[in-house]
């Protein structure tokens, strides 16, 4: 069949022997990119702590952090600075980073699981379930017996409930089809949002309504070190699982039947993906509210740079999501000092135009065909 092969080369400009494909060599450069992004994340975390009503130098930030972690004190700083850095800003900055990373990673997983670029971590009704629960807590005082954690506990249960309902209703003859998942998720979101609005409109607690609206747009204000453990565990375990499943994720994105023909048990895999994604998202939503945009756009932004291979998309999304949300939070707490903006306002204003600019710059990407 030499003739078929010879005829096949139809590009007259190509002269054999062709150099090794770029795709083959790209793997070698990838660790460097991850290293660079990790460095950028460290710089971001440091700078974000220095910024605020009281300016603190990066050196002092590191000294305080090291002193608190290792007990070795070096340099001079006031107790006030130490409190600001260690008790207020560091946990907040870390929480923003973890939330950003988690939502970006879950966004990648969800888009692959339902094979739809419009999917985000909230596609299964998770944010609307959490929102309704949060509204009930803030405006009607249910779940009071959980004390200061009542909001988080309620939000988590709200998201899990919504997820279970969606998964149950989307089942059809033992299979979970992507389109059913999306449609049931959207439909349930409408129902839950209607209920949320109903509760808000029935309430005459103006301050409560304000804090509800704030919560619905997401915030990491008031973060404490103790808040970080759970989302960090969820992030590490979830991301590790997803990265190990990078090959099946690629196959799934390439097509349902393609994945089956490549030996992926798509039904089982999709179910596991949903549970992993729901757990991460549920924890994130419980702590920071429904931060929008990151989970939808960060994966796309990353794909524009590194392509669709999940071995690259997942780690890069994690780092980029963390960096992005830390800076969003810096803006949220500085632009209208001493007031705070919810994160959703900043992610929308900042991220939306940036993404549209990026997409238009890469005219061929995202549906235009890239060469």
């Amino acid at each position: 069949m030499g003739t078929a092969v010879e005829q096949a080369s139809q590009d007259p400009g190509e002269t054999p022997p062709a150099p090794a494909p770029r795709a083959k060599r790209r793997d070698a450069r990838f660790p460097l990119a991850v290293l660079a992004l990790t460095a950028a994340l460290l710089v971001t975390l440091t700078l974000a702590v220095t910024i605020g009503p009281v300016a603190i130098s990066p050196l002092t930030v590191w000294q305080i952090a090291l002193a608190r972690m290792t007990g070795l004190a070096a340099g001079e700083w006031s107790a006030a600075h130490e409190n600001i850095v260690w008790l207020i800003r560091l946990p907040r900055v870390f929480l923003a980073a973890i939330i950003g990373a988690g939502l970006a990673v879950v966004g990648v997983a969800m888009q692959a699981a339902v094979r739809n670029p419009l999917a985000d971590p909230y596609i299964l009704g998770i944010s609307s379930g959490a929102s309704l629960a949060a509204v009930l807590v803030i405006l009607m005082g249910v779940f009071k017996f959980f004390g200061i954690y009542s909001l988080s506990v309620a939000a988590f249960f709200g998201s899990v409930m919504a997820f279970v309902i969606v998964i149950t209703l989307a089942q059809n003859r033992g299979t979970l089809s992507p389109i059913r998942l999306i449609l049931v998720g959207v439909a349930l979101s409408y129902v839950l949002s209607a209920a949320t609005s109903f509760v808000i409109f029935r309430a005459d607690d103006a301050e409560g309504i304000r804090s509800v609206l704030f919560w619905l747009q997401g915030s990491v204000a008031g973060a404490k070190w103790s808040y970080l453990t759970l989302p960090l565990i969820a992030l590490v375990i979830g991301t590790a699982y997803l990265i190990l499943q990078a090959r099946p994720l690629n196959a799934l994105v390439a097509g349902e039947e393609t994945a089956i023909s490549l030996g992926v048990d798509t039904n089982r895999f999709r179910r596991v993906l949903m549970v992993v994604a729901a757990m991460i998202t549920g924890v994130m939503v419980a702590l920071a509210g429904a931060v929008g945009f990151v989970g939808l756009m960060m994966p796309h932004t990353v794909r524009l740079f590194v392509g669709s291979d999940h071995r690259r998309v997942l780690p890069v999304s994690l780092l980029a999501g963390a960096i992005f949300l830390v800076w969003v939070d810096v803006l949220a707490r500085t632009i209208v000092q001493p007031e705070e903006m919810p994160l959703g306002v900043i992610t929308g204003f900042l991220g939306g135009p940036f993404f549209i600019w990026l997409m238009r710059r890469n005219r061929n990407a995202l549906g235009g065909g890239r060469s």
Partner: protein
């Protein structure tokens, strides 16, 4: 690798899509399945590559029931070239072909030099190596089809399933793709739309109608005017082409004269007509 399909039945609600289907493909054979739209060709293929679980019946690869195999093991034995192409998420050609290694890799394994060599060889074999860095979405239909065949090659399966591999291709690529498959020497079961191509390239044919196999045998046994009239509702003349020595089917438009009695290659006596009364 051999394929053995026995009494496979699949229903959706009350509708029977596949009814008592039996197919055998011997090692090294290229066997085609023909039939009008909706006759059950694709459903049959989907049962074999495990996208559908039949309600009844038995499908075996080298004697092992495919539904008793682990999903990865089934994919190591069977490679499938589908018409489905990825939509919104972009992969370059190299990545598409590298996906063929999926059933061979454990969760913790990384791609090694051997995997990359397999991908490079597969792309060379289909003449697409110089396209390795191109986005799959930007390729023409024929190029895409060859990349998907390369992926099947990288999958190193010894049984190949093709679902209408020549659909939407220019005639040159139709021949090219089938020449390529023929030349691989891999046991192949393919759905085909074009009767002339099927008669030219396949060792044996199955003809489906309404979810049943209605004819089976060599191209000469299956492609006969009487059978084509019954299954496709068309008048046709079947000749042996003087240069290819293969069957050549000429379709006669409704307003054309009834085929003359002198039409060559009239039904060999050995015709196998199964089912249908």
């Amino acid at each position: 690798m051999t394929l053995h399909v026995e009494k496979v039945t699949w229903r959706v609600e009350d509708q029977t899509i596949l009814s008592d289907v039996a197919v055998d493909v011997a090692a090294g054979e290229l066997v085609g399945v023909l039939g009008p739209n909706g006759s059950g060709k694709s459903s049959l293929l989907r049962c074999i590559y495990r996208a559908l679980k039949p309600d009844a019946g038995y499908i075996a690869l080298n004697g092992d029931n495919v539904w008793n195999l682990d999903a990865k093991e089934a994919a190591r034995r069977t490679a499938t070239v589908l018409q489905e192409t990825p939509g919104e998420f972009e992969f370059v050609v190299w990545e598409m072909v590298l996906m063929g290694r999926t059933p061979h890799k454990s969760m913790f394994a990384r791609e090694n030099a051997e995997d990359h060599d397999l991908v490079e060889n597969a792309l060379t074999q289909v003449g697409m190596l110089s396209f390795a860095d191109r986005s799959f979405a930007t390729l023409s239909g024929g190029e895409k089809q060859r990349v998907l065949i390369a992926r099947a090659l990288a999958q190193q399966a010894r049984f190949l399933i093709l679902d209408e591999p020549t659909n939407h291709l220019d005639v040159r690529y139709q021949l090219e793709v089938l020449d390529l498959v023929r030349g691989l020497g891999v046991t192949t079961f393919t759905a085909l739309h074009d009767l002339n191509l099927a008669a030219t390239y396949c060792d044996r044919l199955y003809l489906m109608e309404g979810g049943e196999i209605v004819a089976a045998g060599t191209p000469a046994e299956v492609v006969q005017p009487a059978i084509l009239r019954k299954v496709f509702g068309v008048e046709a003349e079947v000749q042996v082409h003087p240069r290819t020595g293969k069957l050549h089917i000429v379709f006669l438009p409704a307003h054309a004269a009834v085929p003359s009695a002198t039409a060559p290659a009239e039904a060999p006596a050995s015709a196998v007509l199964v089912g249908g009364s």
